[in-house]
């Protein structure tokens, strides 16, 4: 469905069920150069198990208009505005990678509005190497290939988002190329990475969070290795961690494990 957020048309995937503000709401936030479709399986499951799902394309990404966020803080403000636009007072927030920082910052800014916070493939700080930042700016297709390799860990993944027979390296690469091409004005790849790299408020934000926190970390994650989440884990007052058998793209490499972790957390 489409919502108008900060004056811009915003696409939200609802998991195959109509939006119903009467149900508890769960918001899924994607990472850099991704869109809502990285959450296909998990969002469909929650939508058909009593939840109201909002999985937006972030502003300026794919089906959503608007200025792509320049910082984690700007993206967090967007998330709260999204809840307002949807008429949702309280929601669970789930974020992947850059989206995890956005969810964290949103939960810190409005702790009374966030019932659960799930950080999938997170790190604090989430530094990006200068070489990768430069390539994202100057040679984005080369940088996409680099990120794609760092994000995957399995040559024989289980049946995934497109069903059995999906080749996840190819799927992620095609999605990143598509998202990059979706915004001819702004290089959302470089902008997203720069936002990750410059965010320094993670630990302070976690101190503000009041709801339970789940860390879902990939055992083979080369982008955000499990140990990189430690500063946040140490600050979380009510945190728990689930390690899954996958890399950074764990929603597709370990779709069931990620789903079960989220399902058990949201109960």
């Amino acid at each position: 469905m489409e919502l108008i957020v900060n004056g811009a048309r915003t696409f939200c995937y609802t998991g195959g069920k109509p939006f119903d503000a009467g149900k508890p709401t769960i918001v899924f936030l994607h990472g850099v150069l991704n869109d809502h479709s990285v959450w296909i399986l998990q969002t469909r499951w929650f939508a058909h198990h009593g939840w109201n799902v909002l999985a937006p394309d972030l502003p300026g990404h794919c089906k959503s208009e608007g200025e792509p966020p320049k910082s984690v803080e700007e993206a967090a403000a967007f998330v709260l505005a999204l809840l307002d636009a949807a008429g949702v007072q309280k929601a669970a927030l789930v974020g992947h990678s850059f989206g995890s920082l956005v969810a964290l910052e949103a939960a810190a800014r409005a702790p009374q509005r966030v019932t659960h916070l799930a950080l999938v493939g997170t790190a604090c700080p989430m530094k990006v190497s200068p070489a990768l930042l430069e390539n994202a700016q100057q040679q984005p297709r080369k940088a996409i290939d680099m990120v794609n390799v760092y994000s995957h860990s399995l040559l024989a993944p289980p049946p995934s988002a497109l069903g059995p027979g999906s080749w996840l390296y190819g799927g992620s690469r095609a999605l990143m190329r598509r998202v990059l091409a979706s915004n001819p004005q702004v290089n959302v790849f470089h902008r997203g990475f720069a936002a990750c790299d410059s965010y320094t408020g993670g630990e302070a934000a976690m101190a503000q969070v009041q709801c339970p926190v789940l860390f879902v970390l990939g055992k083979a994650d080369a982008m955000t290795p499990p140990k990189a989440a430690q500063p946040l884990q140490q600050k979380a007052r009510n945190g728990r961690t689930v390690l899954v058998d996958g890399g950074h793209a764990m929603m597709t490499e370990a779709p069931d494990q990620v789903l079960f972790a989220l399902r058990d957390f949201m109960r």
């Binding site: 995937y13 195959g16 869109d35 809502h36 479709s37 296909i40 399986l41 469909r44 499951w45 058909h48 794919c62 089906k63 680099m146 390799v149 760092y150 995957h152 860990s153 399995l154 040559l155 024989a156 993944p157 289980p158 049946p159 995934s160 988002a161 497109l162 069903g163 059995p164 027979g165 999906s166 080749w167 390296y169 190819g170 799927g171 095609a174 999605l175 190329r177 598509r178 998202v179 080369a222 779709p255 069931d256 789903l259």
Partner: protein, 431 residues
């Protein structure tokens, strides 16, 4: 960054999609000859049917052995996923039936396998899908043939049997300007010789019966989605961008930004048309793919020697292989197919139709049959077999004369193949 996380082609040919079996430790891919798969619970069953979770339900829709093959071919082609089908023709039909219905139109190359030509020229017309044929090198012709109801451009990487090389970068660019996808039959070249998706094609399919399998044992096909085509931006594909009544109003392009084609092809095409592959067939094709790089290298080395021999033989009128400067696609082949333009090609004898017949009958190592891409060398007379339903004009358009002979060069000792051809040419000359 060579290694497990960024493997090269030869490594993917052996490992993509396959890991030791978690239940038994089996290292080779097991053959899962099971029609169906047990649900963990009622909720698991419902979630699988409703596509909230991914897994196997029934082998017409998916199967663990087939999934390995699908992942492997998708990996070798650089695609996002693949669907294995009962034959190459089933793969072509699945691609077309997923993208269009009655009232639609296709622009296709004239240089097609006879079976594909039949499907487009005769059979699909019965179902209201019309096709305009253009010569593969006629770029203006491709552009001019596009209509408001066109849904697809379609050609072969190298035409059968004349080996006209399709200028994929150019044809895909004009297709994309018109908001249309390009489907390519890559059977003759395999991903070892060319990766059409990287050159601009959007969908690729194979008759896996041929080089992918390589051993002449099974019939199968596979269609690969590159995930590159933007169905929503095109505006021509309500099949993928509007709610689908056949699956609770699912909008495939919302479910997956890049995988809408594959979603519908499996969830409708395999479900309803049912042209799925046997797991045993998938397993045999996997055995072939493990040695694809080695076999293709040898196919090409042998082909080079045989082509050189034939081109120098006084009883041979013409050899139609792009490795020769005399071939119309020579320059394009150098650019798009640096490893070679395939081991299936045709040539013309200087003799009569009867002498052509004598030539084929005198061969001993070459087998006279209707297939290509086997480890064994093969021979056939296209005008009376694979392309016999085509008119003389259509045959000429496809570069086939009444005396044209097609060879598929196998993996035997090249000296033995040349000796076989030498003897048969002598016998034909005397006839």
């Amino acid at each position: 960054m060579p290694g497990y996380s960024d493997p090269g082609f030869d490594t993917l040919a052996v490992h993509a999609g396959a890991a030791p079996d978690p239940a038994t430790g089996a290292r080779a891919v097991p053959i899962h000859l099971s029609t169906s798969f047990v649900f963990e619970s009622s909720d698991h069953a419902a979630a699988l049917f409703n596509l909230e979770r991914s897994g196997h339900v029934y082998s017409r829709l998916s199967n663990p052995t087939n999934a390995v093959l699908e992942q492997r071919v998708a990996a070798l082609e650089g695609g996002i996923g693949a669907i294995a089908t009962a034959s190459g023709q089933a793969a072509l039909h699945l691609a077309i039936a997923t993208l269009m219905g009655a009232g639609s139109h296709i622009v296709a190359s004239t240089a097609l396998y006879g079976g594909s030509q039949n499907l487009l020229h005769f059979t699909l017309r019965r179902f209201g899908i019309d096709t305009t044929f253009v010569k593969p090198g006629d770029i203006d012709g491709w552009r001019a043939a596009i209509r408001p109801n066109t849904k697809l451009l379609f050609g072969e990487t190298v035409g059968n049997p004349g080996l006209e090389v399709l200028d994929i970068p150019t044809v895909s660019a004009l297709a994309h300007e018109a908001g249309l996808p390009l489907l390519v039959d890559s059977t003759f070249t395999t991903p070892y010789l060319m990766q059409p998706l990287e050159l601009g094609a959007d969908l690729v399919y194979h008759s896996a019966t041929k080089f992918l399998s390589g051993h002449g044992t099974v019939i199968g096909g596979v269609v690969v989605d590159g995930g590159s085509f933007d169905w929503e931006r095109s505006g021509r594909f309500a099949e993928l961008t509007a709610p689908y009544d056949g699956f609770h109003g699912m909008v495939f392009s919302e479910e997956s930004t890049v995988g809408a084609f594959l979603l519908r092809a499996r969830r409708e095409g395999l479900r309803d048309f049912g042209a799925s592959m046997s797991p045993h067939t998938a397993w045999l094709i996997l055995q072939g793919i493990e040695t694809l790089p080695l076999r293709m290298e040898r196919h090409m080395a042998n082909t080079r020697k045989v082509v050189e021999f034939l081109a120098a033989h006084p009883f041979v009128e013409r050899v139609g292989h792009p490795m020769l400067e005399s071939h119309a696609s020579h320059a394009l082949a150098q650019k798009l197919l640096p490893r070679g333009a395939g081991s299936v090609f045709s040539f013309d004898l200087k003799g009569s139709r009867e002498q052509g017949k004598k030539f084929i009958e005198a061969l001993k190592l070459f087998s006279h049959l209707a297939n290509v891409g086997d480890v064994r060398s093969l021979v056939i007379h296209p005008a009376s077999t694979t392309h016999f339903r085509m008119s003389d004009e259509a045959l000429r358009s496809a570069g086939i004369g009444p005396g044209t002979i097609r060879l598929s060069i196998g993996l035997e000792d090249p000296a033995d193949l040349i000796d076989d051809l030498k003897r048969a040419l002598k016998a034909a000359e005397k006839a």
